[in-house]
Amino acid sequence: MSELLIKNGYIFDPISGIKGDKADIAIKDGKIVDKVSSKAQVIDASGKTVMSGGVDIHTHVSGPKVNTGRMMRPEDKFFRGSYRGGIIKQGKRMEMGFSIPSTYKTGYAYARMGYTFTNEAAMPPLLAPHVHEEFRDTPILDQAAMPVFGNNWFCFEYIKNKELENNAAYVAWLLNATKGIGIKVVNPGGTEAWAWGENCTTINDPVPYFDITPAEIVKGLIETNEYLGLPHSVHIHGNNLGNPGNYKDTLDTLRLAESYKAKNKFGREQVLHNTHIQFHSYKGTSWADFESGAKEIMDYVNANKNITCDIGQVTLDETTTMTADGPFEYHLNQLNHIKWANVDVELETGSGVVPYIYDKNIKVCGIQWAIGLELALYAKDLMRVHITTDHPNAGPFTRYPCVIKWLMSEKARKETLDTMKWKDKVIAASNIASMDRELGLYEIAMMTRAGPAKALGLAAIYGSLVKGADGNVAIYNLDANDLPSDPELIEAAFQNTAYTIKEGVVVVKDGEIIAEPHKYTLWTKVNMPENAQVMHDIKEKFTKNYTVNLENYAVFDEHVHNPRAIELDVA
C-alpha cells in the first residue's frame, strides 16, 4: 500500500472544475482518493501549479512510419546528443534523436513535461505487432494506438453496400486483433488512390475501382463508431491536407458530422475529432497568395459542439513529416527534394515520410505558425481544442512548452514574429498580430489533459484529478498567483516538471527521471456476438489477398505489453 499526499499546490482540474484553488491531492495505491493516512509520503507543492498528468490525443511516437523516420535520418541524431550540450543519461537507457526521438527518449521526455498518456495517431493494422513492440520499449507512458480505417478494403465494401452492422463487426474484430483504441481516418480514399499514384482531394472524388467517395467513407465510419459506442469518436485527418484553399474541403468534412450525435457511455460528446486542423485551415489559391483560414474554420468548430480538434502547431523547427497520407508526402517531396520514404500497406493503408524545415524566414512557414495559434486563440471552448504539434509533423512534441508559452503570452508571440524575415507578409496573411488573447493555466489544462481525455472517452482515468482516476500528476514550478512576466520562464516550467507522478510513483523530480514503473497499453474491447458473414469475408481476403496468414495477423497476447482494456458491450 503506497500513499502520497501533494500538499498546498494550486490545483487546475477542468474535469472537476477546480480553477487554481489551493488544495491537497491524495493518492493511494495508484489512484486519486479523498484522503490518505498520516504515513503517506508528502510532497510540498506550495507555490506550484498542480495538474493531472498530460494527455496527448494525437502524436506519432510508436510504430512503422515513426521508425522509418528514425531509420532514415541519422542526421537527426548527429551532434544533438551530448556533443551539443544535450541530455545526459538519466534513465536506464540513453536518449537519442531530436525530431523523431528514440522510444526511451519519448517516454522520458514526455514524463519530464508532465505527460503520462499518449495516443499513437496511426497504426497500420498489418503492422500492429511493431507498434506494441515499441510500446514495450517506451518507458513510463501509458499508451494507446488508433488503427487506420479510412482506406481499408473491408470498410469500403461494407460502407458501399450500406452494411453498417457488418462494418461494425469488422471494426470491433480489428480493434481486438490489433489491440487498438479507436477509429483513425487518414485522407479517406486518397491513400488507396495513391496505390495507383492518384489522390482524392475533395470529399466527393471517387476512389479508383471501389466506387465510393471520401464523404461516404467518413459518414459510414461515424455511423459505425456511434453504433458501437466507442470511447473515442472517429479521428480524422481529412482530404487535401496542406494545400492552399483546403479550408473549404475541411468545412465539407466537418459538415459530414452535422446530423450525428454522440452515443457512448464514456462522457464523450463529439462524433468527429479533426486532427492537426492547422494543416487544414489554408486559404488562397497558391503558395503566393497563401493565407490563414483559421477564422472560418474555428467559427464553424465553435458553433458545432459535436466536433473536437487539435491544433497541430508549427514550431519552426527542422523536423520530419510522416503520415498515412501517402500522396501528400510524395507531393511534399516534390516541393523540397529531400529524401522520401513511402510504405503502402496491403488492403489497409499507406504512409510517407519526408524531412521538412519550417524556416522562420520562409513566408509560408510563418503563416502556418500563425494559423495554429489563431485557431487556439479563436476557440471559445478550449475543452474541444487541444494542443498538439501533430508530432513530429509540425514540430517535435518536446516543443509543447513553447506552444504553451505562445498561447499564454502575446509578448512571446510578438518576439517570435519579430524574428521572421517576412514578418509583414505573415501579418498581412493572418490575424495573429491583432490577437491579444492570453490563455491562462486553467485553459492550458483544458487543452493538454482534460479536453483530450474527455474527447478520448478516458476522463475517468486520465486527464483528471477526480476520485478514482489514476494517480497521474504533474507539478510545475509556476506560482499561479504570480506568473512570471518573462515568457521564457513559463516555457521552462512546462519543459521540466518539479515532479511528475505516475500512478502514485514519483517518476520525475526536478526535471530528472528517477523511476521507471510499469506502464499500460490501452485498447478497446468490444464484446459482441461473432458475425458469421464478416468472419467469412475476413477468411476469404486473407486466403486470397493478404501475404500474412490470418492466424498470424492478430497480435499474440504475449506481445501486448501490460494490456488495459476499455470494455463495452454491443448487443
Binding site: S62, P64, V66, N67, T68, R70, M71, M72, R73, P74, E75, K77, F78, G81, S82, G86, K89, R93, M94, M96, P101, S102, T103, Y104, L126, L127, A128, P129, H130, E133, R136, D137, W153, W194, A195, W196, G197, Y209, Y330, N333, K339, W340, A341, N342, V343, D344, V345, E346, L347, G350, V354, K544, N545, Y546, T547, V548, N549, E551, N552, F556
Partner: protein, 443 residues
C-alpha cells in the same frame, strides 16, 4: 498422437513465409513432417530436432580442445570480458528474434561497445542509400495484388529467396492481378544468366560493376533525354534501354527488387541511391516502389529494433554512454576488424568466420571471441567460448520482420533441448551479471 502445427514461420530467408505446416511427435520433441516450405527451410526444421545439438556452453582449453561448462560460468566469463574490453563488438543477428535483438541492445549499452548486424556486409549499403535518399516502398501484398511490372536487379530469388516469386511477385493471383504471371512483365538485370533470368521476359546482361551507369541511362529516358543516350550503356544497347524504359513508364504498378548484386559492388550505396531516384522519377508518371531483398528471415529486425532504441539501424557505437554514434566505414564490423579497432568479438546468430573475408577473421581472432549460436559452425570452431541457444522459429517463437518490414509472429514448434536458453534470456542474464559486477565495483 503426432500433432500438426499450422501457420508456422520459416526461419530462413527474408520471405519469412508464415504458412509452414509441421507435424511434431507426441512428446513435442521431434519434427516428423514439414510442408509448404522450400528445400532450405526443410533443412532448418530437420536440424532443429537433430540429436547432436549442442546442449552446454563449451570453453576452449589451452590445448585447443573444447570443454563443456555451465551456463552460469559462460555468462560470468562473457560479462567480465565485456566489461574489461575497451571496445567490444557484438555482431550477427541473422537468426535471432527481435526480443533477442532488444536484449542485445541492452547488453552493449551497459558494456559500452559496438553493436552491428549482418546487414553490415549485406544490405548495409541499402541503409546508406535510404539515409541519403529515402525508401519509396510497400508491403509484399501490394506487389501481389497490384504489380504488373517486376524488376529483379542484382538479385536472384530463384536461389536466395526460393518462394519469393511464387508467393509475392511473379506468379500469385492477387486482387487486381487475377491473371497472375500472364499479365506481368518481368525484367531481370544481372551480369549472369541466372535461374531467375530464365523466367524473365527481359534479361539485361549488365556489365558487372556498371549498374550505376545503367540506372543513370534509365533516368535520362524518364527525364526526356533518351535521344542523348550513347549507343550502349554498361553493355546494354540503347534500343533495349528505351524499350524497357517504356515498359517501366507504362506500368500500372511496378516494383524493383534489388539485391547483393548492387550492394556488394563498386559504388555500393550509390547503386541503390540512384535506384531510389529512378523510383521517385517513375512516380511522376506511374506508380513504382522499390524493395531490398533482405537475406535472412529477421535481418530486417535489428534495423527496426535498434532504430527505435538508438535511432540507427546498424554499425552502432555505444561507447560514449550518453549518446550513440554511427558511421559505416568507421563503426562497421569489417572496417573495425581490418583497422584493429576492437578488442573483443561476440558472434551471435551468424557465422562471421565463414562470411567475412578471411583477413578480417584473422584480425578479430587476435582478441577474445565468443560465439552464440545453436550450431557448430566456422565461428564456433575458432572461438574461445561457444554458447548454444534455441533456434528461433523452431524451439523459440518471437517477432521477426520480413523483408518489407512487416512484423511476423513466429511460433515455437518443439521443445528446446533441455537446459538450452533462448537468446533473449541468455543476453539478459549477461546484462544482469554486468550490472551486478558494476554494482560490486568489479568492473
Amino acid at each position: 498422437m503426432p500433432k500438426v502445427i499450422e501457420n508456422v514461420g520459416c526461419p530462413y530467408c527474408g520471405c519469412s513465409c508464415d504458412d509452414v505446416r509441421i507435424t511434431v511427435s507426441d512428446d513435442g520433441k521431434d519434427i516428423l513432417e514439414v510442408e509448404n516450405v522450400c528445400a532450405i527451410g526443410t533443412e532448418i526444421f530437420k536440424h532443429g530436432c537433430s540429436k547432436d545439438r549442442i546442449r552446454l556452453p563449451r570453453m576452449r582449453q589451452p590445448d585447443g580442445s573444447m570443454k563443456d561448462i555451465s551456463y552460469e560460468e559462460a555468462i560470468d566469463w562473457t560479462a567480465r570480458h565485456l566489461l574489461k574490453a575497451k571496445k567490444p563488438l557484438m555482431y550477427g543477428f541473422g537468426s535471432t528474434n527481435c526480443e533477442g535483438q532488444a536484449a542485445a541492445a541492452r547488453v552493449m549499452e551497459i558494456a559500452g561497445g559496438m553493436l552491428d548486424n549482418c546487414a553490415t556486409i549485406c544490405h548495409g549499403p541499402s541503409f546508406l542509400a535510404i539515409f541519403d535518399n529515402g525508401y519509396p516502398s510497400c508491403t509484399l501484398g501490394e506487389v501481389k495484388n497490384r504489380a504488373d511490372v517486376i524488376v529483379y536487379w542484382g538479385s536472384n530469388p530463384a536461389h536466395a529467396h526460393p518462394r519469393h516469386m511464387s508467393r509475392y511477385s511473379i506468379f500469385p493471383r492477387g486482387f487486381f492481378t487475377g491473371k497472375g504471371q500472364k499479365k506481368r512483365t518481368v525484367i531481370v538485370i544481372d551480369p549472369r544468366f541466372t535461374d531467375t533470368a530464365n523466367v524473365a521476359d527481359y534479361h539485361l546482361q549488365v556489365k558487372q560493376g556498371h549498374d550505376y551507369e545503367l540506372f543513370n541511362a534509365f533516368r535520362m529516358v524518364i527525364h526526356g533525354h533518351g535521344k542523348d543516350l550513347p549507343d550502349e550503356v554498361a553493355g546494354i544497347k540503347k534500343e533495349t534501354i528505351l524499350e524497357v524504359a517504356e515498359i517501366m513508364k507504362n506500368a500500372r504498378f511496378g516494383t524493383t527488387f534489388f539485391g547483393m548484386g548492387l550492394t556488394h559492388t563498386d559504388g555500393r550505396n550509390h547503386n541503390i541511391d540512384i535506384a531510389i531516384s529512378l523510383t521517385r522519377d517513375l512516380n511522376k508518371i506511374s506508380k513504382w516502389t522499390i524493395m531490398a531483398m533482405r537475406g535472412h528471415y529477421n535481418i530486417a529486425g535489428p534495423g527496426v529494433v535498434w532504430s527505435w532504441t538508438f535511432g540507427f539501424p546498424y554499425c552502432l557505437d555505444l561507447t560514449k554512454q550518453n549518446h550513440a554514434h554511427m558511421n559505416p566505414g568507421e563503426t562497421s564490423s569489417v572496417d573495425m576488424a581490418m583497422r584493429d579497432e576492437v578488442d573483443m568479438f561476440i558472434n551471435i546468430g551468424t557465422d562471421a568466420a565463414a562470411h567475412f573475408p578471411i583477413p578480417a577473421v584473422k584480425q578479430l581472432k587476435k582478441h577474445p571471441w565468443v560465439t552464440i549460436d545453436p550450431s557448430i559452425n566456422m565461428a564456433s570452431e575458432i572461438s574461445d567460448l561457444h554458447i548454444p541457444v534455441c533456434i528461433c522459429g523452431v524451439d523459440v517463437g518471437g517477432i521477426v520482420y520480413r523483408m518489407d518490414n512487416v512484423p511476423i509472429q513466429f511460433r515455437k514448434v518443439i521443445e528446446p533441448p533441455e537446459g538450452v536458453m533462448d537468446d533473449e534470456t541468455l543476453l539478459n542474464k549477461i546484462a544482469d551479471r554486468m550490472e551486478e559486477l558494476k554494482a560490486k565495483g568489479e568492473a
